[in-house]
């Protein structure tokens, strides 16, 4: 990354309100001294204004349909239904712990068929968990799997930064082989051929 890229990133972060006050002061000083950076910031602001100017609104019928659905829900008392979110979270945590335990167990045993069976069990548990979470949140199973995998790696004390980049690269080019990762994969074996889509 060049110095210019660095300051442009700072501008992007400042515009999205993600810079601390001290970092903003440093950026202000840089902006005063760097005309190209000022131009970048101005272009960014102009671009955002232009993009938002073309925004349409949903059809009134759509808004009416949403309000009617909300009113129906309210009448049926759905809004007041007790949702045991905490209980479900605890169940997820327990499942995750079991999956993690099985994973650890699998990784400390001698290589052999029983290791494979343990790993398969662990993977099945994680996939089932991801399926449930995806159904509950309206997300995709793929996203949930990724999230759970990240949580597992973090539980094992591994940094996931490099791994995330690899996952991203893999997503961009599903037909290509999984790129090498900088992580120590311990006992996790090299992934076999994965079919995408």
């Amino acid at each position: 990354m060049t110095t210019h890229d660095y300051w442009q990133d700072r501008v992007l972060l400042a515009e999205s309100g993600e810079l601390a006050a001290s970092e903003c002061r440093a950026l202000e000083q840089q902006l005063e001294a760097d005309a190209a950076l000022r131009a970048f910031r101005d272009e960014l602001r102009a671009l955002s204004r232009a993009a938002q100017s073309s925004t349409l609104s949903p059809a009134p019928a759509t808004l009416t349909a949403i309000r009617e659905a909300a009113a129906r829900d309210n009448e049926r008392g759905h809004v007041f239904v007790f949702r045991p979110a905490v209980v479900r979270s605890l169940a997820y945590a327990a499942l995750l712990a079991v999956a993690f335990g099985v994973w650890i167990l699998g990784s400390t045993r001698r290589p052999g068929l029983s290791d494979d069976a343990a790993r398969i069990q662990a993977v099945r548990a994680v996939v089932a968990l991801a399926g449930e979470e995806a159904a509950a949140t309206g997300g995709t199973e793929e996203d949930q799997l990724k999230l759970l995998a990240l949580q597992l790696l973090e539980l094992e004390g591994l940094s996931t930064d490099g791994w995330e980049s690899s996952v991203s690269d893999w997503e961009l080019s599903p037909s290509e082989e999984l790129p090498p990762t900088s992580l120590q994969w311990h006992s996790i074996r090299e992934p076999r051929a994965i079919e995408c889509g």
């Binding site: 890229d5 442009q8 990133d9 992007l12 972060l13 999205s16 309100g17 993600e18 970048f40 101005d42 272009e43 960014l44 102009a46 671009l47 955002s48 204004r49 232009a50 993009a51 938002q52 100017s53 073309s54 925004t55 349409l56 609104s57 949903p58 059809a59 019928a61 759509t62 808004l63 349909a65 949403i66 309000r67 659905a69 909300a70 009113a71 829900d73 309210n74 759905h78 809004v79 007041f80 949702r83 979110a85 509950a136 949140t137 309206g138 997300g139 995709t140 996203d143 990724k146 999230l147 990240l150 930064d161 995330e164 980049s165 996952v167 991203s168 997503e171 961009l172």
Partner: protein
């Protein structure tokens, strides 16, 4: 009157206050719809997705964590819906299917127009920009739309895309770099306003 936060409005909605939901919709309507419209490029589909997002909010409001970014949650739901629809449509995409302008893939392929860039010259600035954004690689377009329309912080964008914040920032930079030459004239016009 004190402006309620998204968390407060969600809490009020949970207690049965439908006006709180109206307020949430009004607050997030433009950004959310802008994002969906740019992702789908079809008004009817955008309306469907917009409606489905709010239906999911009603059904799954208990999953919203108090104090977290409500707009980010909406965009995430919308993004997943658009992706799911795209996957489903992938199997039965038709060359005869028409977009909002009543043009099918078939007649666009067979079009006699010399260059799509010339065609978009006649559109108004915002629409032209929207057309340019469609040509960005999908992950750059996604970051651009989430930032510009969804107004999401890069931290949230990175989480949604499952990448590091540096990757999200780099994608935004690439998107801007792609748009800059295409919109050079507009940039100059905008900077003189």
């Amino acid at each position: 009157m004190k402006k309620s936060s998204d968390s407060e409005l969600i809490r009020a909605y949970r207690k049965g206050d439908l006006e709180a939901l109206d307020a949430l919709i009004a607050r997030h309507r433009q950004g959310l719809y802008g994002y969906i419209m740019n992702m789908t490029q079809n008004r009817a589909e955008a309306d469907d997705v917009f409606q489905e997002v709010w239906l999911r909010v009603m059904r799954k409001h208990h999953l919203y964590r108090r104090g977290s970014n409500f707009g980010g949650w909406l965009i995430r739901i919308a993004r997943n819906l658009v992706i799911d629809r795209g996957r489903r449509r992938g199997c039965d995409a038709s060359l005869d299917a028409e977009n909002d302008e009543g043009r099918s893939m078939l007649n666009m392929i067979a079009s006699n127009e010399p260059d799509p860039r010339e065609a978009v010259q006649e559109m108004e600035l915002g629409a032209r920009l929207s057309a340019m954004v469609q040509r960005l690689p999908s992950e750059q377009k996604d970051v651009f739309l989430m930032r510009v329309h969804g107004k999401l912080p890069f931290k949230a964008i990175a989480r949604i895309q499952g990448v590091s914040i540096n990757t999200a920032l780099a994608r935004m930079q690439y998107a801007l770099a792609h748009l800059r030459p295409l919109l050079k004239v507009e940039y100059e016009a905008l900077s003189t306003r």
